[in-house]
Amino acid sequence: MKVELRDPNEIMKLSRLGSFHQSKLSFLRSFLNEFKEWEYKQDLFDLDEKGFGEAVYSFKKDKRVYSLVCFANKIKDEERSDRVIATKWDAAFTLHDGIPIKKDIERLKNEVPKQEVGRLSYKELTLSRANKSVRIYNHVIDSLSKGEQPDLNLLSKVGYLYRTTAVYGSGKFGLADRFRIKNREEINGPFRLEMMLVYLVRQFTFDQVNHVAYHKNPKKSVKLDQNICKNLGIGNSTGLGMAPFIVNHPTLLNNWILSRETALKKIREIKKVEKKDSELFIKCVKKSLTNITSWNTESDYQQQKISSLLNNIKKFLIYINKSFDFQIEYPFNKIYVWLEKNTCEECIEYIVSIMMEPYNEIIEPLVKKMSSDEEKYFNIPTNRKVEELRNIIEKKYPNILDINFQKKENNQNFWFISKNKEEPRLADRFEEHGSELEQPLAIARDIKKLHDKLLVSKNSLTIAEFLSANSDLRHVVRRAFIVEKFPYSEIQDNTIGKNLMPIDMLRLKLSFFGALKFDPRSDKWLRICMFQGAPLPHELKNYDEQWVYKNSF
């Protein structure tokens, strides 16, 4: 049986993309898989009794070494802010390419804590900062210093000791450009070094609380239980900075989604499912319920989604337990069709993710296809004709062509770069100034404008001739030729409409990172947790691949 890939016009809608969940394809899981054989080491741990100072952690294999350099700083409570306008953080980090010498650490000590206003070098690969969850951090230190383990109930409400507020890579602030390292086999997957940074930061947070608790009470203190450590992750506060990325990297976006869609198609095409695979699938669905019931958020929007997800998963489990037989042919196809008919988008995508769990042989080759050499697709094929371009647009953007951008609500917002922080922002074009400096992120509107222009242009004109009179549409002409080859490269939705939920765009990207427990704090930013339940560095050589569904908080 041949199953078609799902239609981009359904999958690339923001509500669907905003319902994606982590899976075996997610970058933090593929990072762990890639680096499980590497040698992990704490190379330096020079903190004072309050936990301020420097530390270095590394992963090493043969002659290659990646080192996380950490700087823990004293800041005042009133200086602690997750907002991008902050200028001080509890800790700052960089991933250094190789082993940093003393001179490197001195240089980095001056630059890394400054983050966006500091300067890194081609020897640094990623940059980040994090703030303590003060409530949890203080409670853990108090408990450990008294010789007690912390209150699991309290820990489960937050899930981490620190949360990062940005993780930068690929040439930002002087960091190494991607092209310098792109041929390294171990990082042949998106965001792998960003994932390494976050993973090592997690270990630093455990070592720091143990160290501070010990110095607070050397005689009585105990170390944080390894099982508790394992069930703590690293939080992250994410705002709109992430949203334009998925618009600005169309072939990369395509490769992420196409990998997911190809995985689903191949799983639906499995004629006979082995018992061990169906059992693993069901076990993961059941175990994953803890991730849903421990998913805390004050957001009404997310609470409704969680409640609907939980009800739908329960309904699905009843269906599986009562009336489903995995011995039939193409059982996963039947499950998928049932899901589409009977459950919400959040649930469909949740189960799709879990379907991948038994199938390393399908997933691992796809992981290797999730990067993109974007430069290869940048040039516009200008010898092609207007008629061809119009046909591409009509075929690839059918719903977008139906949007009426003359209506105020469809043209309500504009994206811009803020002057003070050089970060992307969204504003109401009818209430705020600056729409004349709009970023080219209103793809749907501009595609529609391009189509209107093509309708009144001669079919036989070459694209070169068309562009000489329509330079303002060049950016979308480029995109249309990209979407011709890469069906999942474009969000098939309006990114400037009144009803836009920007967090859907963030959620899409974060799900591919492998984030759990999306906690929207408004429609424009959210908190998440990464690596919660993941093996600790010393456990990497032999870890349970389904750790993500076995969080015991």
Binding site: S121, N383, S468
Partner: protein
């Protein structure tokens, strides 16, 4: 040191601010990145050009022909570059393309370099008295590398190289003969056991 990613982003944004469309600004970002990657002063010349644009006029050449002479003002190297890139499939049929009076000709070079890759042919540029060779966007060589690039090219001639060898047949034969010293003479039995042995080729 600025990363190429920073260079591309800043050049793109500055170009938009200078009045180019987003699509053209994307092209400029890529081009300046390329110049800087090849250690050519892209940022410096883009800066100088944008500053000069504030007070002076430049001509936008949108349709390129064999001889291109500016009517009143120097040609804008960016619009000229984008036009060249877009029209290169047609232009390659013309052996020599001449431009008279091009402003900041260095800024035109990366567009020609990318064009060279698109058509799969090397391009030679005569910039006043100097030569620049664009090798399929893999590198840019020039006798101007250590000198200041001119701010204006009175004469700028583009010439496409046909894809042919860069050496004589005799030179090739001579080198090939040397390479034969790595071959081993096959014995008769090995010849008989080789691929296809024992079959007719008409089966």
């Amino acid at each position: 040191m600025k990363s190429l990613s920073e260079i591309e982003t800043t050049a793109k944004r500055a170009s938009k601010a200078a009045g180019y469309s987003w699509g053209v600004s994307e092209e400029i970002g890529k081009s300046i990145r390329l110049l800087e990657l090849f250690s050519l002063p892209g940022i410096k010349y883009l800066n100088d050009y944008f500053n000069e644009r504030k007070n002076n006029k430049f001509e936008n050449l949108k349709l390129i022909s064999e001889k291109n002479i500016s009517a009143h003002y120097p040609f804008c190297p960016i619009i000229l570059g984008v036009s060249f890139l877009d029209q290169v499939n047609k232009l390659e049929d013309i052996k020599n393309i001449e431009f008279k009076n091009v402003a900041y000709p260095l800024l035109l070079i990366p567009f020609l370099s990318r064009s060279s890759e698109i058509i799969g042919k090397k391009i030679n540029v005569r910039l006043n008295e100097n030569q620049i060779r664009l090798n399929l966007n893999v590198n840019i060589s020039s006798d101007l590398i250590n000198d200041e690039f001119p701010k204006n090219a009175a004469n700028f001639v583009v010439n496409f190289f046909e894809n042919k060898d860069n050496f004589t047949e005799e030179e090739w034969e001579s080198l090939y003969k040397i390479s034969e010293d790595t071959f081993v003479e096959e014995s008769d039995s090995l010849k008989q056991a080789g691929a296809g042995a024992g079959l007719t080729d008409n089966d």
